[in-house]
């Protein structure tokens, strides 16, 4: 049993115990959940202390023959991401104690979060493709369960099913991709498979393309993005953990894990870049016109994830991971803060918010920092990570990447545009939530309890300082660059460059300025076009028409076919036999003379037939 596996198993066991014993008492359930996650964090710290970036920690799996399982790889990348996952999970668990105080099903809720943590960690440390698949799918399951936590509401039920099915559609590709990878490389070990696949362009292209489908689903990229905004029906801590910091980032992480294979498939990288561009700008635009606090953040998440995908497409894996980590902190912070607002006010609808500054000072400050980090204001983490993506785009535009330079240019331009739009929706969100006339006096809104705001405060720290970690080559870049599949020592510091900094600062000012200028316009009264944009460019209707309705029609056909054709043919045989029986019964009317006549006739016929037969 390796420590890595232990890190996965501890929260898993906590989940099991939580399900078995959690029903007994709330504090016990909370203790199990927090304890489990904290222990996982402890193991993650221990692993980090072993300096895995210098020498990856390889854990062999169990079982021989067809399906060995449980091999782990902890390299610098895995160790870093694991730390982030455990850290955010722990904060979310603590936060949930307060947030879910009134929740009747708290124990199963906490247990599912623990299970999620275990699954995510399994993805992070997976050394074989099968463990990767397990973690990948169990994450999806937990997402489904937690989105549907409040299944008394139709909205939650629908959103849960939608989330599961849309990601599952992507997962067909993912699973087939894994099958192809295993089939083509004849190994289930992740490093070996990746190395082997990287040497064969065909396999690399097919496998990475298929796996990309799963990534698009999990990381909510076009065209499999539609589930994430609806997933906001889940509790806010869930959104913070699963739909902002970790699970949606797992797609990016998996591509990073299999990166050599992707680098061997330029066509796929180009596709990724295009998808990222579409998603990035589209989601940001949609975010501008949302009416709900969490939906703004959800579309923002979609948009930000696109940055990471874009970075991956441009060959800048380190930048992608850097942005992923920094985004995890800031977005988790934002969702938890949003949760605090919703907890206090009782609604996340932007119409009903405003002027909460005084009554919720801690939440106000932390959320403001979070928004600034999201927009990428110096010197917060988001600034540095976003800049690293822009720098990568610039390099690609100059032809320093696997993809063509037009791809780099496109990404660069779209990224800058998106920064402006991001600044606009962040500004709008901030204004609608915190400024304006006081609305809290009559409703008695108060600051959330310490158990909830302490995690916010804690998250502020990385959101502020994390950006500096990449300035030196020996710091973060060395950590995240070190993987088993790539040679060591090529890490580069991720520093902003003047040109991109200037461009992005201009973009932020333009975006935020526009939001300020238009602040007095009634932002909720929209024309047709506005509603169309707010509804995600009508994408759900396309889904409805292209997938759901044809599916239901085919179901109808098959069901009807089964009822009529097949069932009836079977019962028809039965009825037919009975009819034949009746028919054959008819001649026997009791008249022996008829009986004898037919017998004699039969003899004559038989004689004639046989005589003919003998003669010929």
């Amino acid at each position: 049993m390796t420590a890595a596996l232990l890190m996965v198993l501890v929260p898993a066991v906590a989940a099991l115990l939580g399900l078995l014993l959690g029903g007994m008492s709330r504090p016990l359930a909370a203790a199990i959940a927090v304890g489990g996650t904290a222990s996982a964090l402890g193991v993650a710290l221990y692993l980090a202390l072993l300096e895995p970036w210098a020498e990856p920690l390889i854990g062999t799996g169990f079982g021989e023959g067809t399906l060995p399982l449980g091999a782990t790889v902890v390299d610098g990348l895995a160790s870093t991401v694991a730390l982030m996952v455990c850290f955010v999970s722990l904060l979310v668990q603590i936060y949930s104690i307060g947030y879910m105080r009134e929740e009747p099903r708290y124990s199963s809720y906490a247990a599912f979060i623990s299970l999620f943590t275990a699954a995510m960690l399994a993805v992070v440390v997976a050394g074989d493709l099968l463990l990767l698949v397990i973690g990948w799918e169990v994450m999806g399951l937990c997402s489904y369960l937690l989105i549907g936590q409040r299944w008394e509401q139709e909205e939650a039920r629908r959103a849960a099913v939608k989330a599961f099915l849309v990601t599952k559609i992507g997962d067909i590709g993912f699973i087939i991709g894994i099958v192809v990878l295993i089939g083509a490389t004849a190994t289930t070990l992740l490093p070996d498979a990746v190395r082997a696949a990287a040497d064969d362009p065909t396999v690399a292209t097919v496998a990475s393309g298929l796996i990309l489908l799963g990534v698009l689903g999990k990381s909510a990229q076009f065209p499999l993005h539609a589930w994430l905004p609806d997933a906001m029906a889940g509790p806010s801590p869930v959104s913070a953990l699963i739909h902002a910091a970790t699970m949606v980032a797992a797609g990016v992480y998996v591509v990073a894990r299999l990166y050599p294979m992707y680098l061997a498939a330029p066509a796929i990288l180009t596709a990724m870049a295009v998808i990222a561009c579409v998603t990035m700008l589209g989601a940001a635009v949609i975010a501008v016109v949302q009416d709900d606090l969490k939906r703004v953040l959800a579309w923002s998440t979609v948009s930000q994830l696109a940055y990471m995908v874009a970075a991956l497409a441009l060959g800048a894996r380190d930048a992608a991971i850097f942005h992923m980590l920094s985004h995890a902190f800031s977005k988790a912070l934002l969702f938890l803060a949003a949760g605090a607002v919703i907890h206090a006010v009782g609604s996340g609808a932007l119409r009903e918010l405003g002027g909460l500054r005084r009554s919720m000072p801690v939440t106000f400050i932390t959320m403001t920092i979070g928004l600034l980090a999201l927009v990428g204001v110096f010197p917060l983490a988001g600034f540095f990570s976003k800049e690293s993506v822009l720098v990568a785009a610039e390099h690609a535009a100059h032809g320093d990447a696997e993809v063509a330079s037009w791809v780099g240019w496109t990404v660069l331009v779209v990224s800058i545009l998106t920064i402006a739009v991001t600044a606009a929706y962040a500004q709008r969100l901030w204004l609608l939530t915190w400024s304006g006339p006081r609305r809290d006096s009559s409703s008695g809104v108060r600051e959330v309890p310490a158990v909830m705001f302490v995690p916010l405060v804690v998250l502020v720290v990385p959101a502020v300082v994390f950006g500096f970690s990449a300035l030196e080559r020996a710091w973060l870049p060395t950590w995240i660059q070190a993987t088993v599949t790539e040679p060591l020592g090529t890490a580069e510091a991720l520093r902003p460059e003047v040109a991109t900094v200037v461009l992005s600062v201009v973009a932020v000012i333009v975006g935020a300025g526009a939001a300020l200028v238009f602040r007095h316009r009634e932002t909720f009264a929209r024309g047709r076009a506005g509603s169309f944009v707010a509804a995600g460019f009508g994408f759900d209707a396309v889904y409805q028409g292209l997938v759901v309705r044809p599916f239901l029609v085919v179901v109808g056909w098959v069901t009807a076919f089964d009822r009529s054709a097949i069932q009836r043919s079977v019962s028809g045989v039965g009825v037919g036999t009975l009819r034949a029986g009746s028919l054959l019964q008819r001649p026997y009317r009791g008249d022996v003379q008829r009986y004898v006549s037919s017998a004699v006739t039969a003899v004559v016929v038989a004689i004639v037939v046989m005589l003919v037969a003998i003669a010929t």
Partner: protein, 104 residues
């Protein structure tokens, strides 16, 4: 005498018997028809016996058996008909249809 003449007789007897069997309604007449058929058998047996000049005279001896069988059959048949007549007051064979398939 050529073999075909007695065989013609035999076939005729047998055929008349079959005809009677198929068209007569009176049970007694049916018994007689069967007797005709058996006599047709007898004729052909004797004819074949002569034709083969069978030293064992299997054909002729068989005729004896056939006659015996016929006698036994007639005896038994009349007894059954008597029983039937007692129960039904008729020996019309097409009226003995109480036992038959019932459509269900």
């Amino acid at each position: 005498m050529h073999l075909s003449l007695p065989l013609l007789l035999s076939v005729s007897l047998f055929g008349i018997g079959v005809y009677g069997l198929l068209v007569r309604r009176n049970a007694i007449l049916i018994l007689m028809s069967v007797e005709l058929m058996l006599n047709g058998v007898n004729v052909s047996l004797v004819a074949f016996d002569v034709y083969w000049a069978d030293v064992l005279h299997a054909g002729q001896s068989m005729v004896i058996f056939v006659i015996t069988i016929a006698a036994a059959e007639i005896g038994l048949g009349l007894a059954i008909l008597l029983l039937l007549f007692r129960a039904r007051r008729t020996i019309a064979i097409d009226e003995a249809t109480e036992l038959h398939e019932e459509a269900s």
